[in-house]
């Protein structure tokens, strides 16, 4: 193990408790000053502007309807996600066919595709004559609430499947086997034993799907049509028209209700009872039969293919056509609508890179602090809860509040606001992933290393970090992709700058005259670059360890 001067210095400094606590204090300060307070407090600074909205009943009813649409769609979609995603997760985790590995990979595709691209892909598939609508001689699903539901289902479905596959794989199968040996058929076993034990993961997957749905802005704007409004769309319209009062009002309500819903889930989720006591042996035995299981699996696959996979990948069709008809040449030369495209890509990836670096550096001490309860059990638990707030606050409301806060505190250039907004939105992804990974590392390893003479930083460097390196990498990748993908908060903080998803939204909304082939190619390039960056960083990390 080579020791550089810096490493030796850090090793030795980490022995001093004052240094350790200074690091933790710095991390906590970073969290409160940059991540938590601006997105929450900003909205309160414009408290007085809400009065003008409340005096206008038309505006209030429109705002209320938009807020209602946000939560109604989020709850509906999350419930459907869990109902449809659970059988797929079960199939992926428990099935024996080797084709299920392919399904497992395909489930992640909507993760890789930025939501703005996903939005356009769904719009093409369901609404445009180039898609499935061509079979029906018109627009099968017109832009509006139904298409928004289809979109939200498509992008939050993989979240549910991914969380539940992990939970089912981690689940101790002995419980299930015990129930079977006691006489319970498979369906009774799943209902009375497996699902109640997996309840925390079910709640977590529902919560994540809900948060994604409430927060999503860019893709929703693409498929919402002229008349449909939910919270984020209302905020965007209010912002475009310069109505500060309604914007603050809706942002405030979205933040408050989101926090209230998550607090309720956190407090009451564990007490949620599942129907355990009643069993219907004959009916459940029939429903456990292989033919019923085959029908269920086929239905799950059908839903996944028709509502998630094919619509998500449909954008590849215009992208392919754009390669053959010369659009690609315009794109490469950066002429016409493509003038700002490459700058927007560079901006997206640069901000993504900077945000990833900053959040990794600032998030690591916070993750250690939460996982190892370094500042006491109570304070660490409080921080653990607070870290989730940026995740549950709708991103456009977060951006709005953050923008108001910084503009009233100091002059910050637009690029600074953009970075701060992305920092705030992506911070929980890294800290949650790392804290969970560090918690899984047996604390005895730390103690063993300390008794063998390792100083705190040495222990972190040589024990915790190697054991959590994949989570570190996964957390960093999540931060990066989320930042590149982010639209809602970006729309709320920028006026001049254009990130790639914002530009694509403008193309689709017709602010800039782009052809479907332009948009398709623009989306495909974004997906391709994200994929290449992911692949390269994965190879780099693999080579290093």
């Amino acid at each position: 193990m080579a020791h550089s001067g810096i490493t030796r210095f850090l090793d030795s400094a980490s022995s001093k408790s004052s240094v350790r606590y200074a690091l933790y204090l710095g991390s906590i300060t970073f969290f409160f000053a940059l991540i938590l307070i601006p997105p929450i407090l900003g909205i309160f600074l414009k408290w007085n502007t809400m009065a003008e909205t409340l005096r206008d009943p038309t505006l209030v009813s429109r705002a209320t309807a938009a807020i209602y649409a946000s939560f109604a769609i989020a709850i509906f979609v999350s419930v459907i996600d869990v109902v449809a995603g659970l059988p797929t997760a079960w199939l992926v985790a428990r099935g024996r066919s080797r084709w299920l590995n392919v399904l497992d990979t395909f489930v992640d595709i909507p993760f890789i595709v930025p939501t703005a691209t996903l939005g356009y892909s769904l719009l093409l598939f369901w609404s445009k004559p180039e898609g499935v609508s061509s079979l029906f001689g018109g627009s099968l699903v017109s832009p509006g609430w139904l298409l928004v539901i289809l979109l939200h289902f498509a992008f939050s479905y993989p979240v549910v499947v991914r969380v539940m596959v992990g939970a089912i794989l981690d689940y101790k199968r002995e419980y299930e086997e015990a129930a079977r040996t006691l006489g319970a058929p498979p369906l009774t076993t799943d209902r009375t034993v497996t699902l109640p034990i997996l309840k925390p993961s079910l709640i977590a997957s529902f919560t994540l799907a809900f948060a994604r749905s409430v927060s999503e802005t860019g893709a929703t704007l693409m498929v919402a049509g002229v008349f449909f409004e939910n919270g984020p769309i209302f905020i965007k319209k209010a912002r475009d028209l310069g109505y500060e009062g309604p914007l603050v009002f809706v942002s405030f309500i979205l933040i408050v209700i989101s926090c209230a819903i998550f607090a309720t889930i956190r407090l009451l989720g564990s007490r949620l009872k599942m129907p355990l006591r009643n069993v219907w042996p004959v009916a459940e035995r029939k429903l456990s039969s292989s033919s019923v299981t085959a029908v269920r699996n086929s239905l799950s696959l059908f839903v996944f293919l028709l509502l998630v996979l094919i619509p998500s990948l449909f954008v590849a069709l215009p992208a392919f056509l754009a390669m053959t008809n010369g659009t690609i040449n315009q794109a490469v030369r950066g002429v016409g609508v493509w003038q700002g495209y490459w700058q927007s890509l560079i901006l997206s990836y640069s901000v993504g890179f900077v945000v990833t670096m900053l959040n990794t550096l600032a998030g690591l001490p916070m993750a250690v602090l939460i996982a190892r309860k370094r500042v006491g059990t109570t304070l660490s638990s409080i921080l653990d809860v607070l870290v989730n707030i940026p995740l549950i606050v709708p991103s456009i409301a977060l951006g709005t509040s953050l923008s108001i806060f910084w503009k009233s505190v100091a002059f910050i250039p637009e690029i600074g606001l953009l970075t701060f907004a992305h920092l705030s939105i992506t911070y929980p992804y890294f800290v949650r992933s790392m804290a969970a990974a560090i918690e899984r590392v047996n604390v005895d390893y730390d103690n063993a290393a300390r008794t063998l003479g390792g100083r705190p930083f040495t222990v972190f460097r040589t024990i915790i970090l190697p054991l959590t390196k994949y989570s570190l990498f996964a957390g960093a990748i999540m931060v990066f992709t989320r930042s590149v993908d982010e639209t809602g908060a970006t729309l709320a903080v920028v006026t001049q700058l254009r990130t790639a998803p914002v530009l694509l939204v403008e193309w689709v909304k017709g602010t800039v005259q782009a052809t479907p082939l332009d948009i398709g190619l623009g989306c495909a390039i974004l997906v391709l670059l994200s994929f290449i960056i992911l692949l390269v960083s994965r190879l780099l990390v693999r080579g290093r360890y």
Binding site: R180, T181, L182, P281
Partner: protein, 367 residues
């Protein structure tokens, strides 16, 4: 009646042959142990009988019914898992009455069975407790009560005492047998602990590398091991290598390393065969000084330990081999390290095995 028959059953996991063409018959109301070192396939065999794993080939019969394609819930078994697998979200009562409930035995019957089982394992007063609030011994009892409450006459136990402290383990193993006998159950108990198997079984199958090496009562396995590994795994044995130098109708003379000769009553090998002679440590006698007798070898004391009931004496023989002698502490002389001694044994109390093809060390290895 729950008699279990396993006929030519095999099970492979990837490239590992966990159960290799095994056949055995377990009688009604018998307490039967599957004994062997870790990874020998005993748990897989138990899980095959339970229907938790499907065999690649062979047949499994329970009560003369072929159950290969019968799911576990319809095999009429009770299964106690090594880590108990008590449902963490249910209290003791709900765990124990789970079987009667899913079998739709009715509320009253479920209640009666639950009460009876919990009273039997002396845990009725803890019926509201959750598994996380119970000690290891209590969890074991609840797991047993739950398995019995399902109403099966065939009880399968996968290392049921493995997670307990030594003292509780020793107490509970007799209880397990008593419950099985009182309720007239057929019990199949998997363990790697030969003392546990010897103490509670009617019969034992010793397994190694997916195969059954020998089935017999504890006495048969101890007194008459048919395989060198069984002689090694059941109790303790000293192994000495040699050749059959002379064979008569009554005995064989074996030439050990260093030109030493001993006699045995073995008549299964012919002159010139390379063999291994196994002698139990408690069969060997040791006395001070060098005294030439039948089947005696001189040696020197290398180690001497008092263990309460017995003393253990490690002796380096004159040919360089080492043997262990175990004698009752109150009935033997005590020896000093380095002291010269004579070790001897009766010819009829040794076992002679052909020298293993892959070498003695490999044949005796536990993994």
């Amino acid at each position: 009646m729950p008699e279990v028959r396993v006929v030519n059953v095999a099970k492979k996991f990837d490239k590992i042959l966990a159960v290799d063409n095994v056949s055995l018959q377990i009688h009604d109301k018998e307490y039967f142990c599957l004994l062997g070192p870790s990874g020998c396939g005993k748990t897989t065999l138990l899980r095959l009988i339970a229907g938790l794993v499907e065999p690649d080939k062979g047949e499994i019969y329970i009560e003369n019914r072929l159950v290969n394609s019968v799911p576990p819930e319809d095999r009429g078994i009770g299964f106690v898992f090594q880590q108990y697998a008590l449902f963490p979200h249910m209290n003791v009562w709900d765990n124990v009455t789970y079987g009667p409930r899913v079998k739709a035995l009715g509320k009253k019957a479920s209640k009666d069975i639950g009460r009876e089982m919990l009273e039997m394992v002396k845990l009725f007063e803890r019926l509201d407790a959750f598994p996380s609030e119970l000690s290891g011994g209590m969890m074991q009892r609840v797991a047993l009560a739950r398995a019995l409450a399902a109403g099966s006459k065939l009880l399968l136990l996968d290392e049921p005492l493995g997670a307990l402290d030594a003292k509780i383990r020793n107490e509970l193993r007799y209880e397990l047998r008593k419950f099985a006998k009182d309720l007239e159950l057929t019990g199949i108990h998997v363990t790697h602990d030969q003392a546990e198997a010897m103490a509670i079984s009617d019969r034992i199958a010793v397994m190694r590398k997916g195969k059954i090496l020998q089935i017999g009562t504890p006495q048969e396995l101890y007194m008459n091991p048919q395989h060198i590994f069984v002689a090694h795994f059941i109790g303790e044995s000293n192994f000495l290598e040699g050749y059959i130098s002379k064979r008569t109708e009554k005995e064989s003379t074996i030439e050990l390393r260093g030109g030493l000769f001993v006699s045995t009553s073995d008549k299964t090998h012919k002159e010139g065969d390379k063999v291994v002679i196994a002698i139990r440590p408690e069969v060997l006698t040791v006395e001070k000084g060098e005294k030439r007798r039948t089947n005696s070898i001189f040696g020197q004391v290398e180690g001497f330990r008092f263990e309460g009931t017995n003393v253990r004496c490690q002796i380096r023989l004159e040919n360089g081999d080492s043997v262990l002698v175990v004698r009752p502490a109150l009935m033997t002389e005590w020896f000093n390290i380095g002291e010269k001694v004579t070790v001897s044994f009766p010819a009829e109390k040794s076992f002679v095995f052909p020298y293993p093809e892959k070498g003695l060390k490999k044949e005796l290895a536990l993994e």
